[in-house]
Symmetry: C2
DNA sequence: AACAAATAGTTAGCATGCAAATAGTTATGT
DNA sequence: ACATAACTATTTGCATGCTAACTATTTGTT
Protein backbone atom coordinates (compact mmCIF):
# COMPACT_ATOMS: atom_id res chain seq x y z
CA UNK A 1 0.00 0.00 0.00
CA UNK A 2 1.22 3.48 -0.88
CA UNK A 3 2.11 5.29 2.34
CA UNK A 4 1.96 8.87 1.14
CA UNK A 5 0.00 11.19 3.35
CA UNK A 6 -2.80 12.16 0.99
CA UNK A 7 -3.24 8.56 -0.07
CA UNK A 8 -3.70 7.34 3.50
CA UNK A 9 -6.25 10.10 4.15
CA UNK A 10 -8.19 8.99 1.09
CA UNK A 11 -7.98 5.30 1.94
CA UNK A 12 -8.99 5.68 5.58
CA UNK A 13 -12.02 7.72 4.58
CA UNK A 14 -13.01 5.36 1.81
CA UNK A 15 -12.73 2.27 4.00
CA UNK A 16 -14.66 3.89 6.86
CA UNK A 17 -17.39 5.05 4.49
CA UNK A 18 -17.75 1.55 3.04
CA UNK A 19 -17.82 -0.09 6.47
CA UNK A 20 -20.47 2.32 7.73
CA UNK A 21 -22.71 1.71 4.76
CA UNK A 22 -22.13 -2.03 4.90
CA UNK A 23 -23.32 -2.06 8.52
CA UNK A 24 -26.36 0.14 7.88
CA UNK A 25 -27.62 -0.82 4.46
CA UNK A 26 -29.86 -3.49 5.96
CA UNK A 27 -31.60 -0.67 7.82
CA UNK A 28 -32.51 0.87 4.48
CA UNK A 29 -30.06 3.75 4.85
CA UNK A 30 -28.38 5.22 1.79
CA UNK A 31 -24.82 6.63 1.71
CA UNK A 32 -25.72 10.22 2.55
CA UNK A 33 -27.98 9.50 5.48
CA UNK A 34 -25.76 8.22 8.33
CA UNK A 35 -23.85 11.47 8.77
CA UNK A 36 -27.09 13.46 8.80
CA UNK A 37 -28.63 11.13 11.39
CA UNK A 38 -25.46 11.41 13.48
CA UNK A 39 -25.54 15.18 13.29
CA UNK A 40 -29.24 15.41 14.17
CA UNK A 41 -28.71 13.04 17.10
CA UNK A 42 -26.46 15.72 18.56
CA UNK A 43 -28.20 18.82 17.16
CA UNK A 44 -31.88 18.04 16.74
CA UNK A 45 -33.93 20.91 15.35
CA UNK A 46 -31.07 22.46 13.34
CA UNK A 47 -31.71 24.42 10.18
CA UNK A 48 -30.49 22.96 6.91
CA UNK A 49 -27.62 25.39 6.49
CA UNK A 50 -26.08 24.23 9.78
CA UNK A 51 -26.64 20.55 9.02
CA UNK A 52 -24.93 20.94 5.65
CA UNK A 53 -22.00 22.73 7.26
CA UNK A 54 -21.69 20.13 10.02
CA UNK A 55 -21.83 17.28 7.50
CA UNK A 56 -19.38 18.97 5.14
CA UNK A 57 -21.77 18.86 2.19
CA UNK A 58 -23.36 21.50 0.00
CA UNK A 59 -26.84 22.74 1.00
CA UNK A 60 -28.05 21.74 -2.46
CA UNK A 61 -26.96 18.17 -1.81
CA UNK A 62 -28.68 18.14 1.56
CA UNK A 63 -32.00 19.12 -0.01
CA UNK A 64 -32.18 15.82 -1.88
CA UNK A 65 -31.02 13.73 1.07
CA UNK A 66 -33.60 15.27 3.41
CA UNK A 67 -36.37 14.76 0.87
CA UNK A 68 -35.72 11.03 0.84
CA UNK A 69 -35.32 10.92 4.62
CA UNK A 70 -38.62 12.76 5.06
CA UNK A 71 -40.23 10.39 2.56
CA UNK A 72 -39.10 7.45 4.69
CA UNK A 73 -40.32 9.10 7.89
CA UNK A 74 -36.88 9.64 9.44
CA UNK A 75 -37.15 13.42 9.80
CA UNK A 76 -39.67 16.25 9.71
CA UNK A 77 -39.08 19.75 8.41
CA UNK A 78 -40.96 22.46 10.26
CA UNK A 79 -41.20 26.22 9.91
CA UNK A 80 -40.89 28.57 12.86
CA UNK A 81 -42.82 31.73 13.55
CA UNK A 82 -40.71 34.74 12.67
CA UNK A 83 -38.35 32.92 10.28
CA UNK A 84 -40.00 31.62 7.18
CA UNK A 85 -36.85 31.17 5.13
CA UNK A 86 -35.20 28.56 7.37
CA UNK A 87 -36.49 25.04 7.73
CA UNK A 88 -35.95 23.38 11.10
CA UNK A 89 -35.27 19.65 10.89
CA UNK A 90 -36.32 17.20 13.63
CA UNK A 91 -35.81 13.47 14.04
CA UNK A 92 -38.97 11.37 14.17
CA UNK A 93 -39.24 8.45 16.59
CA UNK A 94 -38.02 6.15 13.85
CA UNK A 95 -35.26 8.60 12.98
CA UNK A 96 -34.08 8.71 16.58
CA UNK A 97 -33.79 4.93 16.68
CA UNK A 98 -31.72 4.94 13.48
CA UNK A 99 -29.60 7.78 14.78
CA UNK A 100 -28.77 5.78 17.89
CA UNK A 101 -27.91 2.81 15.70
CA UNK A 102 -25.58 4.99 13.64
CA UNK A 103 -23.86 6.24 16.79
CA UNK A 104 -23.35 2.66 17.94
CA UNK A 105 -21.89 1.62 14.58
CA UNK A 106 -19.47 4.53 14.60
CA UNK A 107 -18.24 3.51 18.07
CA UNK A 108 -17.76 -0.09 17.01
CA UNK A 109 -15.93 0.86 13.83
CA UNK A 110 -13.66 3.30 15.67
CA UNK A 111 -12.78 0.57 18.10
CA UNK A 112 -11.95 -1.72 15.19
CA UNK A 113 -9.88 0.91 13.41
CA UNK A 114 -7.82 1.56 16.53
CA UNK A 115 -7.31 -2.10 17.32
CA UNK A 116 -3.87 -2.79 18.77
CA UNK A 117 -2.96 0.88 19.13
CA UNK A 118 -1.93 2.13 22.59
CA UNK A 119 -4.15 4.68 24.32
CA UNK A 120 -1.41 7.30 24.29
CA UNK A 121 -0.78 6.79 20.60
CA UNK A 122 -4.51 7.14 19.92
CA UNK A 123 -4.68 10.42 21.82
CA UNK A 124 -1.64 11.79 20.01
CA UNK A 125 -3.14 10.75 16.68
CA UNK A 126 -6.44 12.52 17.33
CA UNK A 127 -4.60 15.65 18.44
CA UNK A 128 -2.48 15.75 15.29
CA UNK A 129 -5.46 15.05 13.05
CA UNK A 130 -7.30 17.89 14.72
CA UNK A 131 -4.39 20.24 14.03
CA UNK A 132 -4.40 19.12 10.40
CA UNK A 133 -8.10 19.81 10.03
CA UNK A 134 -7.60 23.27 11.53
CA UNK A 135 -4.74 23.92 9.09
CA UNK A 136 -7.07 23.08 6.21
CA UNK A 137 -10.03 25.06 7.47
CA UNK A 138 -10.58 28.48 5.97
CA UNK A 139 -10.21 30.92 8.90
CA UNK A 140 -13.23 32.75 7.49
CA UNK A 141 -15.40 29.74 8.11
CA UNK A 142 -14.18 28.67 11.53
CA UNK A 143 -16.68 26.48 13.31
CA UNK B 1 -15.42 21.48 15.64
CA UNK B 2 -16.45 18.02 16.72
CA UNK B 3 -13.32 16.07 17.65
CA UNK B 4 -14.61 12.54 17.36
CA UNK B 5 -12.42 10.21 15.40
CA UNK B 6 -14.72 9.40 12.52
CA UNK B 7 -15.67 13.03 12.14
CA UNK B 8 -12.05 14.15 11.81
CA UNK B 9 -11.42 11.45 9.20
CA UNK B 10 -14.38 12.73 7.21
CA UNK B 11 -13.43 16.38 7.55
CA UNK B 12 -9.77 15.91 6.64
CA UNK B 13 -10.73 13.99 3.52
CA UNK B 14 -13.41 16.45 2.53
CA UNK B 15 -11.15 19.48 2.95
CA UNK B 16 -8.28 17.82 1.07
CA UNK B 17 -10.60 16.82 -1.76
CA UNK B 18 -11.93 20.35 -2.08
CA UNK B 19 -8.46 21.90 -1.99
CA UNK B 20 -7.20 19.54 -4.67
CA UNK B 21 -10.07 20.30 -6.97
CA UNK B 22 -9.86 24.01 -6.29
CA UNK B 23 -6.21 23.96 -7.36
CA UNK B 24 -6.81 21.89 -10.48
CA UNK B 25 -10.18 22.97 -11.82
CA UNK B 26 -8.52 25.66 -13.92
CA UNK B 27 -6.71 22.84 -15.69
CA UNK B 28 -10.05 21.44 -16.74
CA UNK B 29 -9.84 18.48 -14.37
CA UNK B 30 -12.99 17.05 -12.81
CA UNK B 31 -13.20 15.52 -9.30
CA UNK B 32 -12.45 11.95 -10.28
CA UNK B 33 -9.44 12.67 -12.46
CA UNK B 34 -6.60 13.80 -10.11
CA UNK B 35 -6.32 10.48 -8.29
CA UNK B 36 -6.24 8.58 -11.59
CA UNK B 37 -3.54 10.88 -12.98
CA UNK B 38 -1.57 10.45 -9.77
CA UNK B 39 -1.84 6.68 -9.98
CA UNK B 40 -0.86 6.54 -13.66
CA UNK B 41 2.10 8.81 -12.96
CA UNK B 42 3.43 6.02 -10.77
CA UNK B 43 2.01 3.02 -12.64
CA UNK B 44 1.71 3.92 -16.31
CA UNK B 45 0.30 1.17 -18.48
CA UNK B 46 -1.81 -0.42 -15.73
CA UNK B 47 -5.00 -2.28 -16.53
CA UNK B 48 -8.28 -0.77 -15.36
CA UNK B 49 -8.83 -3.27 -12.57
CA UNK B 50 -5.57 -2.24 -10.90
CA UNK B 51 -6.21 1.48 -11.37
CA UNK B 52 -9.64 1.11 -9.78
CA UNK B 53 -8.15 -0.80 -6.87
CA UNK B 54 -5.38 1.73 -6.37
CA UNK B 55 -7.80 4.63 -6.50
CA UNK B 56 -10.29 2.93 -4.18
CA UNK B 57 -13.15 3.16 -6.66
CA UNK B 58 -15.33 0.63 -8.39
CA UNK B 59 -14.27 -0.50 -11.88
CA UNK B 60 -17.68 0.61 -13.12
CA UNK B 61 -16.96 4.14 -11.90
CA UNK B 62 -13.55 4.15 -13.54
CA UNK B 63 -15.06 3.32 -16.92
CA UNK B 64 -16.83 6.68 -17.06
CA UNK B 65 -13.85 8.64 -15.75
CA UNK B 66 -11.49 7.11 -18.31
CA UNK B 67 -13.94 7.78 -21.13
CA UNK B 68 -13.86 11.50 -20.37
CA UNK B 69 -10.11 11.49 -19.86
CA UNK B 70 -9.63 9.73 -23.19
CA UNK B 71 -12.01 12.22 -24.82
CA UNK B 72 -9.83 15.05 -23.54
CA UNK B 73 -6.66 13.35 -24.69
CA UNK B 74 -5.21 12.68 -21.25
CA UNK B 75 -4.95 8.90 -21.62
CA UNK B 76 -5.04 6.15 -24.22
CA UNK B 77 -6.44 2.65 -23.80
CA UNK B 78 -4.61 -0.04 -25.71
CA UNK B 79 -5.03 -3.78 -26.10
CA UNK B 80 -2.16 -6.20 -25.80
CA UNK B 81 -1.51 -9.29 -27.84
CA UNK B 82 -2.53 -12.37 -25.88
CA UNK B 83 -4.93 -10.57 -23.53
CA UNK B 84 -7.94 -9.08 -25.20
CA UNK B 85 -10.08 -8.69 -22.11
CA UNK B 86 -7.81 -6.24 -20.28
CA UNK B 87 -7.32 -2.67 -21.42
CA UNK B 88 -3.93 -1.12 -20.72
CA UNK B 89 -4.06 2.58 -19.91
CA UNK B 90 -1.24 4.99 -20.80
CA UNK B 91 -0.75 8.69 -20.16
CA UNK B 92 -0.44 10.87 -23.25
CA UNK B 93 2.04 13.73 -23.36
CA UNK B 94 -0.67 16.08 -22.14
CA UNK B 95 -1.69 13.58 -19.47
CA UNK B 96 1.86 13.30 -18.20
CA UNK B 97 2.06 17.07 -17.79
CA UNK B 98 -1.20 17.09 -15.82
CA UNK B 99 -0.04 14.14 -13.75
CA UNK B 100 3.09 16.03 -12.78
CA UNK B 101 0.97 19.05 -11.88
CA UNK B 102 -1.21 16.85 -9.68
CA UNK B 103 1.84 15.46 -7.90
CA UNK B 104 3.08 18.98 -7.26
CA UNK B 105 -0.30 20.08 -5.87
CA UNK B 106 -0.42 17.08 -3.54
CA UNK B 107 3.02 17.97 -2.18
CA UNK B 108 2.05 21.58 -1.62
CA UNK B 109 -1.20 20.68 0.09
CA UNK B 110 0.49 18.12 2.32
CA UNK B 111 2.96 20.75 3.36
CA UNK B 112 0.11 23.11 4.17
CA UNK B 113 -1.80 20.46 6.10
CA UNK B 114 1.23 19.67 8.24
CA UNK B 115 2.11 23.31 8.86
CA UNK B 116 3.46 23.85 12.36
CA UNK B 117 3.72 20.14 13.18
CA UNK B 118 7.10 18.77 14.26
CA UNK B 119 8.81 16.24 12.02
CA UNK B 120 8.64 13.54 14.68
CA UNK B 121 4.94 14.14 15.22
CA UNK B 122 4.36 13.91 11.46
CA UNK B 123 6.18 10.60 11.25
CA UNK B 124 4.25 9.18 14.19
CA UNK B 125 0.99 10.36 12.63
CA UNK B 126 1.67 8.67 9.31
CA UNK B 127 2.65 5.46 11.09
CA UNK B 128 -0.55 5.38 13.11
CA UNK B 129 -2.67 6.23 10.09
CA UNK B 130 -1.04 3.40 8.21
CA UNK B 131 -1.88 0.99 11.04
CA UNK B 132 -5.48 2.21 10.96
CA UNK B 133 -5.76 1.63 7.22
CA UNK B 134 -4.38 -1.88 7.69
CA UNK B 135 -6.91 -2.54 10.45
CA UNK B 136 -9.70 -1.56 8.07
CA UNK B 137 -8.42 -3.51 5.08
CA UNK B 138 -10.00 -6.84 4.40
CA UNK B 139 -7.19 -9.39 4.78
CA UNK B 140 -8.59 -11.10 1.68
CA UNK B 141 -7.79 -8.04 -0.39
CA UNK B 142 -4.36 -7.13 0.94
CA UNK B 143 -2.49 -4.92 -1.45
C1' DA C 1 -12.08 -30.65 -27.51
C1' DA C 2 -16.18 -29.29 -24.78
C1' DC C 3 -18.14 -27.28 -21.02
C1' DA C 4 -18.06 -24.75 -16.76
C1' DA C 5 -16.03 -21.25 -13.88
C1' DA C 6 -13.52 -17.19 -13.30
C1' DT C 7 -12.10 -12.67 -14.92
C1' DA C 8 -12.29 -7.73 -17.12
C1' DG C 9 -14.88 -4.31 -18.66
C1' DT C 10 -19.29 -2.08 -19.67
C1' DT C 11 -24.18 -0.68 -19.07
C1' DA C 12 -28.24 0.78 -16.44
C1' DG C 13 -30.33 2.74 -12.46
C1' DC C 14 -30.08 5.22 -8.43
C1' DA C 15 -28.01 8.31 -4.76
C1' DT C 16 -24.67 11.61 -3.66
C1' DG C 17 -21.74 15.86 -4.58
C1' DC C 18 -20.84 20.31 -6.65
C1' DA C 19 -21.61 24.94 -9.10
C1' DA C 20 -24.69 28.16 -10.95
C1' DA C 21 -29.06 30.08 -11.37
C1' DT C 22 -33.56 30.92 -9.17
C1' DA C 23 -37.34 32.12 -5.76
C1' DG C 24 -38.73 33.63 -1.51
C1' DT C 25 -37.57 35.90 2.88
C1' DT C 26 -35.18 38.99 5.91
C1' DA C 27 -31.91 42.68 6.96
C1' DT C 28 -29.80 47.11 5.79
C1' DG C 29 -29.16 51.76 4.14
C1' DT C 30 -30.84 56.08 2.92
C1' DA D 1 -41.06 53.56 3.36
C1' DC D 2 -38.36 52.00 -0.27
C1' DA D 3 -34.71 49.97 -2.77
C1' DT D 4 -30.92 47.16 -2.25
C1' DA D 5 -28.28 43.66 -0.33
C1' DA D 6 -27.83 39.40 2.15
C1' DC D 7 -29.58 35.03 3.32
C1' DT D 8 -31.96 30.20 2.92
C1' DA D 9 -33.54 26.72 0.35
C1' DT D 10 -34.44 24.72 -4.11
C1' DT D 11 -33.79 23.48 -9.06
C1' DT D 12 -30.93 22.14 -12.90
C1' DG D 13 -27.05 20.00 -15.10
C1' DC D 14 -23.10 17.36 -14.86
C1' DA D 15 -19.61 14.13 -12.72
C1' DT D 16 -18.72 10.73 -9.50
C1' DG D 17 -19.79 6.36 -6.78
C1' DC D 18 -22.18 2.11 -5.94
C1' DT D 19 -24.72 -2.46 -7.04
C1' DA D 20 -26.56 -5.64 -10.20
C1' DA D 21 -26.86 -7.43 -14.60
C1' DC D 22 -24.59 -8.24 -18.90
C1' DT D 23 -20.91 -9.23 -22.66
C1' DA D 24 -16.62 -10.87 -23.98
C1' DT D 25 -12.54 -13.30 -22.94
C1' DT D 26 -9.63 -16.49 -20.54
C1' DT D 27 -8.80 -20.33 -17.54
C1' DG D 28 -9.84 -24.86 -15.55
C1' DT D 29 -11.90 -29.42 -15.61
C1' DT D 30 -12.99 -33.49 -17.44
Amino acid sequence: MDQSFHYLIMVSHSLLQKSVLNALIQDGLTPGQPKVLDYLGKHDGSIQKDIAHGCQIDPATLTGILERMEGKGLVERKAKEGNRRSSYVYLTESGRVKSEKVRQIFLELESEMLRGIEQEEQTQFINTLYKICCNMTDPEKLQ
